[in-house]
């Protein structure tokens, strides 16, 4: 867990220069956060977050509990609107913007959320609907897909996460792992530009973690752009194209693949060795 000396000069950003990637995909980022700040009352939870997520990239965010990881994800789809800073998704500004950039035309939160999917720690399936209806409801009400077609597509989505035989089951009849896979199918069917995962396996019994991780792996292989908050550092090491370590509302250090063995910052190293 020490910095290897033979690595190419990949950028390990210090807090001051965070968000200035060197070897990163080119082209406009799908998600771009610049100096995002968020306060709850007097408590400043995010203290200027910079992050770029490019198409097809799998970004892992990790760090101690309470460091603001969930708040970062929730500001990307405006479940928690940032107090200040710029939030751009697919080139459209949704945040308050940066001072000095003048009046930028803002996108509507509804449009933003229609291009950003989210998977929650506690699944948040709709308990009064079957697995199929859970996937179907947003397809019909958000995309306006007709019932028959929506059901076909939902069934197909459930088949992809291996849960077609459970289509008629209610969430209460499914294990936590199965519920989370339905939630992933529900988010995927809407074809988001980027899919956010907030500790998707933290609420699961240990023996159910694997099935959710392998579903996520399959989603990643399909080329989905993903931002994943997780404590599963083994999985993170394997899937993360960009790894972001957060503490106390700031990005302490970011790095590419191999980051977990090469990180420089002693706080990052300390956290990783405590978890792994």
């Amino acid at each position: 867990m020490r910095a290897a000396t033979t690595v190419p000069p990949t950028q390990h950003d210090s807090p001051e220069s965070a968000g200035a990637p060197a070897h990163r995909p080119s082209g406009p980022p799908v998600v771009e956060l610049r100096q995002i700040r968020k306060s709850f009352g007097d408590l400043e939870v995010l203290k200027g977050i910079d992050l770029q997520v490019h198409k097809g990239e799998h970004v892992v965010v990790f760090g101690p509990s309470g460091s603001g990881k969930s708040t970062v994800l929730r500001s990307i789809n405006l479940l928690e609107p940032p107090t200040s800073g710029s939030l751009k998704v697919a080139g459209v500004e949704y945040g308050p913007g940066l001072p000095g950039e003048g009046d930028v035309k803002k996108g509507k939160p509804l449009d933003l959320r229609r291009s950003v999917g989210m998977v929650f720690q506690s699944f948040n399936l709709f308990p009064h609907l079957t697995a199929l209806e859970n996937v179907c409801l947003p397809l019909r009400s958000v995309r306006g897909v007709k019932r028959d077609e929506a059901e076909q597509r939902s069934a197909d989505a459930l088949r992809r996460v291996g849960l077609l035989p459970r289509a008629a089951h209610f969430p209460g009849q499914l294990s936590g792992g199965q519920q989370q896979r339905v939630a992933i199918a529900r988010a995927l069917t809407l074809d988001p530009e980027v899919l956010l995962f907030d500790e998707p396996t933290s609420a699961l019994d240990p023996e159910l973690v694997g099935e959710v991780l392998s579903t996520m792996r399959e989603v990643a292989e399909l080329g989905m752009t993903m931002v994943i908050v997780t404590h599963e550092l083994g999985f993170a090491r394997e899937i993360g194209d960009l790894n972001v370590f957060m503490e106390d509302g700031v990005v302490v250090e970011t790095g590419p693949r191999g980051f977990f063995d090469e990180c420089h910052n002693p706080r990052t190293q300390k956290f990783i060795s405590a978890v792994l």
């Binding site: 789809n77 950003v116 999917g117 506690s122 948040n124 409801l137 009400s141 209460g172």
Partner: protein, 261 residues
């Protein structure tokens, strides 16, 4: 009327036969009570949901709703119906039929009760439900009708049933405006037969019977809304839906999950 013979000594005599003899009048009274209550229940549910939403909303309006709720929860049905039937006629020169006045009087009170019931039911829905809807890009109105309301309805249902039973009993005070409900019918019969004990006991039995039946019906409704694995009954009632989904399952190609696009 056979009971007329027993008039002189009636006070000391129990003649249960008069209940049977006058069954159609008593049952008509019950029907009237149920009709007034049912119409008022529908109105109160709509108003109560509206009040609950206003109460949970922005400041000046939420205060007004809170005041309304707290005042009308405390007003006796007797006073309410006197306000509506006599008061409005005096002050605003509006006159209602006794049926209308009864419905309005109950709706004024029970929309306040139901507002509180709906509010606590809505508050019982986990925050994550609405957030999931928002994150999926659903509009707030759609989230309310497709996600929040169905779940809240199930939570509120037993209490709504209790309110309905209370409404039926409260119609007994509408005898004051001359509504021909159970108590009014009973009073009329007592005046004829001098059998207050027998007749009021029969009236009470009718209320108890109705409470029993309504309780049963609302429990049944609650169970049909219950989702498996809890609702064995609902599983049966959902048969059609289950078959539809099963057909979809069967129609899907049996491909391995991962590699399909």
């Amino acid at each position: 009327m056979s009971t007329l013979l027993s008039l002189p000594t009636a006070a000391s005599q129990y003649d249960w036969g008069i209940v049977w003899d006058n069954r159609s009048m008593l049952l008509n009274g019950l029907l009237t009570a149920l009709e007034v209550s049912f119409v008022a229940l529908i109105i109160s549910m709509v108003l109560g949901m509206g009040l609950a939403l206003v109460r949970m909303g922005r400041a000046p309006f939420s205060w007004i709703a809170a005041i309304y709720i707290n005042v009308f929860r405390g007003v006796p049905a007797l006073v309410s119906v006197i306000w509506v039937y006599f008061g409005l006629a005096l002050v605003l020169d509006i006159s209602f039929s006794v049926f209308q006045a009864g419905v309005i009087a109950l709706s004024l009170l029970y929309s306040a009760f139901l507002a509180e019931i709906f509010r606590s039911a809505l508050n019982a829905i986990p925050k994550g439900q609405k957030e999931a809807g928002l994150a999926l890009g659903m509009k707030p109105v759609r989230i309310f009708f497709s996600i929040t309301l169905p779940q809240a309805t199930k939570i509120a249902l037993p209490n709504v049933g209790n309110m309905f039973i209370g409404m039926v009993k409260d119609t007994s005070t509408f005898t004051v405006i001359g509504l021909l409900e159970v108590v009014r019918v009973t009073q009329n019969l007592v005046a004829e037969t001098f059998q207050p004990f027998v007749l009021y006991t029969a009236a009470a039995a009718l209320y108890v019977f109705v409470a029993f039946v309504l309780d049963f019906l609302f429990r049944l409704a609650e169970r049909t809304l219950d989702t498996p694995p809890n609702g064995a009954l609902s599983r049966g009632l959902r048969g059609r839906k289950q078959r539809r989904i099963q057909a979809l399952i069967d129609a899907q190609p049996p491909v391995r999950p991962s590699t399909a696009t």
